[in-house]
């Protein structure tokens, strides 16, 4: 064999030399020198300094990146004459005023924060503490303290937009309504037009129509513990994804009871934070607690889903499969059902349970999310052909 070119030698170093090339290099001092020098070069260059970002730094950058992201603008809408609005049922403006008495005063409002590409834009009042917990198609705004106004665009089929306060929640059904809350409890809902589902923990779902109103039958007498100072206001947080804190520090209000956080909410937050850090074990444990603390709570559906995700990321495949089956059994109409089906399908592929895997993928294949559908199609393609 004649000497290969240096280019050919370099390619062979990367892709592997065939038998003839190996024999030649072994017997040719010139080619052998290039080969050895290149391998030495790669080893040496591998010792050049490499930055290893810490988890905290990455988390910080992640938060900054998501906060800096300006989602693509939706298509420009031609202003529609008012008389046409009713005809097409479009352009619904939903104003949600969730009021928790925290002694706020007249202050300039912080800038609006778009829960994008969400259907909603949150306008927090001073002192509001909230979080845009989940993005579409199942959006959740979790409010702890204060007042927020929300504008919600019309929801497409399969999309949800919920406001969760404690264990209660109000779900938008293409309407305009007002919600009042006090100390993490729903107090009243008034529907301008459209339809609203009110879910108060421990009570059946109440559906309100045009002009309907719901009020808490017996206001819960909540007495602030004596001599218990209000906790100091945490510092301003980045806009996404942590809990938002409006800019005005609040003072203890002798009238207002302390704002409470449910145990389920605390556990859920711990799980979510752990999941974001990549600590899947603590995440699974925390989501498990959130489920156990309030099996019928407002966050149970999400906690069950993320519990399964945490187990899957822990590679506890059997447990994750059981958790996903439990999720799909308990919440078959969840907007995350398709995603859960796809995920379950892949886990079942791992455990060679192909029959059920196919069934799960077939369900997910018709899901609303293109990403889920794509995953399901790939899953179906990955299944061994029937014997």
């Amino acid at each position: 064999m004649t000497c290969p070119t240096e280019l050919e030698l370099d390619q062979a170093i990367s892709t592997g030399a065939d038998h003839e090339m190996r024999e030649h290099v072994a017997s040719c001092p010139a080619c052998r020198a290039i080969w050895d020098e290149t391998e030495r070069l790669i080893v040496l260059a591998g010792q050049l300094q490499v930055a290893q970002p810490g988890g905290a730094m990455l988390e910080e950058r992640r938060t900054a990146m998501l906060a800096a992201w300006v989602p693509p603008e939706p298509a420009i809408k031609v202003p529609t004459p008012r008389w046409r609005i009713g005809a097409v049922g479009a352009s619904i403006a939903v104003a949600v005023a969730l009021v928790i008495v925290i002694g706020t005063r007249e202050h300039a409002s912080p800038p609006a924060i778009a829960a994008h590409p969400s259907r909603g834009t949150v306008h927090p009042h001073d002192g509001a503490v909230f979080r845009l917990a989940f993005s579409p198609p199942d959006e959740i705004v979790r409010l702890r303290d204060g007042v927020i106004d929300i504008d919600v665009d019309p929801l497409a089929s399969g999309e949800r937009f919920r406001v969760v306060v404690g264990t209660d929640e109000v779900e938008v059904r293409g309407t305009s309504f007002e919600v009042r809350a006090h100390a993490d409890h729903l107090i009243a809902v008034h529907v301008g037009h459209g339809r609203v589902e009110v879910r108060v923990a421990g009570s059946p779902v109440i559906v309100l129509g045009n002009g309907d109103a719901w009020q808490l039958p017996v206001p819960a007498p909540i007495t602030p513990p004596a001599n218990l100072p209000m906790p100091p206001m945490p510092p301003i947080m980045p806009p996404m994804p942590p809990m938002h804190h409006a800019t005005i520090a609040r003072q203890p209000d002798p009238i207002a009871p302390p704002v409470t956080t449910t145990a389920q909410e605390v556990a859920f937050d711990q799980g979510w934070d752990a999941l974001r850090r990549g600590d899947y074990g603590p995440a699974a444990a925390a989501f498990g607690r959130a489920i156990a603390l309030a099996p019928d709570g407002a966050l149970s559906e999400d906690a069950t889903f993320w519990h399964a995700v945490s187990l899957a990321r822990l590679q506890r495949t059997t447990d994750a499969i059981a958790a996903l089956r439990a999720f799909l059994d308990a919440f078959p109409t969840s907007t995350r059902a398709d995603e859960a089906s796809a995920m379950l399908g892949w886990l079942l592929v791992d455990t060679h349970e192909y029959f059920e895997a196919r069934r799960r993928f077939e369900v997910a294949k018709n899901g609303l999310s293109p990403a889920v559908r794509e995953s399901a199609v790939k899953g179906l393609a990955a299944l061994p052909t029937a014997r």
Partner: protein, 185 residues
């Protein structure tokens, strides 16, 4: 990826403007992007954070262009490479890169002489790498240091395989020359 949405599915979701998907991609690949950029002399610690952020912010816009011809990771590294190339660098930064390699920490060695020699070699490699054209730096870093397949890199960057091999060859040739003793041909 069998325990969650695939990388490809996440990227597809990202293309539709899904913020959670973008966060998921960051979770999966930001470490790799950081490592890749930190190996490129054309980036420094001052610009690296910005380039990482720019890379991921670019994904929702460009994700639709992904055709599945390479791994998602390689494709994202391609986006990072472009972001790095477009990063404006000052002359001071360029000097800072060179100075950085003068203080490269090296593995402990048994003899002070050996240590000095090794340090000098690394200095020379670092400086030679910094003087390479960006495309050659990227080819060397991805193929030789990150150990990615040349075929995958070529597809991820949308270039012919032959072009990738030529870039890698040019890079290695220059770096091999930097390894040669002073005065040697």
């Amino acid at each position: 990826m069998s325990h969650d949405l695939s990388d490809e599915a996440l990227l597809a979701a990202c293309a539709t403007g899904d913020r959670a998907a973008l966060g998921g991609l960051f979770d999966r690949f930001s470490g790799a992007v950081y490592r890749f950029l930190s190996r490129l002399p054309s980036t420094d610690e001052f610009s690296r954070d910005d380039i990482v952020q720019a890379t991921f912010l670019e994904l929702p816009r460009t994700a639709a262009q992904f055709q599945g011809r390479s791994s998602v990771k390689t494709w994202i590294l391609g986006v990072a490479s472009n972001a790095a190339r477009h990063q404006q660098r000052s002359e001071q930064r360029r000097h800072a890169h060179h100075e950085r390699f003068a203080t490269v920490p090296i593995a402990s060695s048994s003899s002070p002489d050996v240590e000095v020699d090794l340090r000098k070699l690394l200095e020379r490699i670092g400086i030679a790498l910094a003087t390479l054209p960006h495309e050659q730096q990227v080819a060397f870093v991805l193929c030789d240091l990150e150990q990615l397949s040349g075929v995958d890199v070529a597809r991820g960057f949308g270039i012919p395989e032959g072009t990738l091999w030529r870039r890698l060859h040019m890079a290695r040739k220059a770096l091999r020359a930097a390894l040669a003793p002073r005065g040697a041909p």
